[in-house]
Symmetry: C2
């Protein structure tokens, strides 16, 4: 059943937020943006998202000032997280952590490491070494004990080793 775009009687900030990010594809797109994916074709290759859906979601995220459209190398159109978008990192991190805890019996599929002290992010979101909340720009993502993906797209390949968050991942 279709959801109303604005919830009757629901003015809380969660409702407002879910109008922006309350689509499953949207959160996967945002996760990939934190991984450094910037280009339309790379989102398609990594997520398998239908192109029409991706177009619509990227437009909505740009209109909401979560992603900005920029001209990248070779004049490609690229989408990068704005400061407002970067503020969604805790949501993405906590959703991943909860999913790993309950749906990945071999352990986390990807782990996040605080670059400065090599501490791994714990399930509570803090660095296991310095116990600080770490900005995504100070984190690297790497395959964890439950890693079982084997995509041959450029994003999957770039994420086979340690990769600093937000550092661009680009296809040719």
């Amino acid at each position: 059943m279709a959801l109303p775009k604005v919830y009757a009687g629901q003015r809380c900030s969660l409702s407002r937020t879910l109008e922006i990010v309350g689509e499953r594809w949207t959160l996967l797109i945002l996760r990939d943006a934190f991984f450094g994916v910037r280009r339309f074709g790379d989102f398609v290759a990594h997520l398998g998202v239908p192109r029409a859906v991706l177009t619509e979601r990227l437009e909505a995220l740009r209109d909401a000032d979560v992603l900005a459209e920029v001209r990248g190398t070779h004049g490609y159109r690229e989408y990068v997280l704005t400061d407002k978008g970067l503020g969604l990192w805790p949501v993405v991190r906590d959703l991943l952590s909860w999913g790993d805890e309950h749906y990945s019996p071999q352990g986390a599929r990807r782990v996040f490491q605080h670059v400065e002290d090599s501490g791994l992010l714990m399930p509570d979101g803090l660095c296991g070494v310095c116990r600080a909340l770490v900005d995504p720009s100070e984190l690297a993502v790497l395959p964890g004990p439950g890693y079982d993906e084997a995509g041959d797209d450029v994003v999957s390949q770039a994420l086979l080793g340690a990769h600093r968050l937000l550092e661009p991942v680009r296809g040719r």
Copy 2:
């Protein structure tokens, strides 16, 4: 466009998680569950969610072991968060916090207070006084500076003052 229930090529824990909580109504239902709402009719009254949608969402959350169905006072069927469901608190908290920051110019609509030391939760999710991560059971929710709801349902009324999270809110 309908989303496939399982994402092609997407085995990451975020995808798995979004299969469970990636519906906007679902996250609003979970928020209300943290507020202490337990009964079908109270969710309807507070959220304005269509009954058929609520039935389907509660069933899915019960099947995923996020909510448990129990017999409450007077034999009413009630839905309570399981341990697994309680683990979603950081997600709900961070979504609310992000929404308040960007869509509530008067300040947070609701604030969360660490009962033990009266510290307010900061945007980073830590207690402003002891700087600890606080379990939802140790938090109270109260109207914040941006509060502007005025529902006359039992849940809205119960949340007009300070209300401890998870403490049952029940209609007659």
